[in-house]
């Protein structure tokens, strides 16, 4: 450790390599419920902490008590983090998945009555009709439609939104906003 404090990188790597199995054993012994990845995360946390407080080691004192104090502290921190995380998490064993429902897999959502849709589009005000035709039927991008009509992108967005609301109303489709 003295060599490491003097800047000897090889000695430092050798030291960390030597203490890592011991840190890993302590983490496993005290946090046996953690999986391998979480254990390794904790070991790496300890190594980072050791590295960030190298200056606090007094060369005239033994190394292991200094290291174990850091390990204990990081384990306690991790336990607090773990507790906080799990206090806000809800374990759900049997998640209701929409894609598994029979209704989802049996009903076919077709295009509906095309004639009625065509009539409804023709009944829209000119600006809204143009927005729907360019953006939804001709599948232009907002930028392209803006250039073609000389209307701003935001005005096109507003016109499209209003047109869709009107179409839903005319066709009697329930809106998401309802």
């Amino acid at each position: 450790m003295r060599a490491a404090q003097a800047g000897d990188a090889d000695a430092y790597r050798a030291l960390l390599t030597a203490v890592t199995p011991r840190i890993r054993r302590i983490v496993r012994a005290r946090r046996g419920f953690l999986d391998v990845a979480d254990t390794e995360d904790l070991v790496q946390d300890v190594l980072l902490s050791v590295h960030s407080v190298l200056a606090t080691y007094d060369p005239s004192r033994p190394f292991m008590p200094w290291l174990l104090a850091i390990v204990r502290n990081r384990l306690a921190d991790a336990a607090r983090r773990y507790g906080r995380k799990h206090a806000h998490e809800l374990q759900v064993d049997d998640l209701q998945v929409t894609f598994g429902e029979t209704v989802t897999n049996t009903l076919y959502e077709g295009p509906g009555d095309l004639e009625a849709l065509s009539h409804a589009i023709r009944a829209l005000p000119a600006g809204q009709r143009q927005a729907i035709e360019l953006l939804k039927l001709q599948e232009m991008s907002l930028k392209e439609a803006s250039v073609a009509t000389g209307t701003s992108v935001s005005a096109l967005k507003v016109a499209t939104h209003r047109a869709i609301v009107s179409l839903r109303r005319i066709l009697g489709v329930a809106s998401d906003e309802d």
């Binding site: 490491a4 404090q5 003097a6 800047g7 990188a9 090889d10 430092y12 790597r13 960390l16 390599t17 890592t20 390794e40 070991v43 790496q44 190594l47 980072l48 902490s49 590295h51 960030s52 407080v53 190298l54 200056a55 606090t56 080691y57 007094d58 060369p59 004192r61 008590p65 200094w66 290291l67 174990l68 104090a69 850091i70 502290n73 990081r74 921190d77």
Partner: protein, 218 residues
């Protein structure tokens, strides 16, 4: 990242590290700054013609404040050293209790000599301002020094730095301004100190933290 790769990276990141001085040496450095602040403010008050009647008015209380500041600062710096003796963290309690005892005794003496405790007879806003500002300044200096250490118990480290800083700030307030009743000191100084130290201890918890050290690394 694999642990072996992390060790390799840490090795590459290593430079020569100067070991921190012993906690009492670091505390002496902080106390020197605190003493300079104390002398500066008191001399400024004296130069503006204020009487320094408070100096030496209560030797026991002021002595206990100095010992509290010294012991709390040593404890604060010891709290950021892994494997340091944790018993030192409790030492400031002794002079702290002595300060409280001297204040309570002062209240009893006031009742006996003046026939009243003096609650509500004085307001002490100048002391509230000087204690809050001076204490916060010295606390900030202490926390800046504590950040060069291991944040093992951030709340306690920050709290001890606050106790040390506000002991000095209280000493300055007592020396610069005399009070007719001890209860004024107990209530105005005491409540200000308790409130501001509690807030600063909480704030300091975020400043003295592992993540601030490790962020530098990442």
């Amino acid at each position: 990242m694999k642990t072996e790769d992390l060790i390799e990276r840490l090795g590459n990141d290593l430079g020569p590290v100067k070991p921190l001085a012993a906690p009492w040496r670091r505390a002496a450095g902080w106390l020197a700054c605190a003493a300079a602040y104390l002398c500066g403010v008191v001399l400024f008050a004296w130069a503006r013609g204020r009487s320094l009647d408070g100096a030496g008015a209560n030797i026991l209380q002021q002595g206990a404040l100095i010992v509290t500041a010294a012991s709390a600062s040593v404890a604060a710096f010891a709290s950021v050293v892994p494997a340091a003796d944790r018993r030192v963290l409790g030492v400031p309690l002794v002079p702290g209790m002595l300060v409280m005892a001297s204040l309570l005794w002062g209240c009893i003496v006031d009742v006996r000599l003046q026939g009243t405790l003096g609650i509500g007879r004085e307001t002490d806003w100048p002391c509230v301002a000087s204690i809050s500002l001076g204490g916060t300044l010295l606390w900030a200096l202490g926390v800046a020094m504590l950040r060069r250490g291991a944040p093992l118990t951030p709340l306690i480290s920050s709290l001890l730095a606050g106790v040390a800083a506000f002991s000095v700030a209280n000493l300055e307030a007592c020396v610069s301004r005399s009070h007719a009743f001890t209860i004024t000191v107990l209530l105005w100084h005491g409540v200000t100190t308790a409130l501001v130290v509690a807030v600063l201890a909480y704030v300091g918890r975020g400043l003295i933290a592992w993540r601030t050290l490790e962020t530098r690394l990442k």
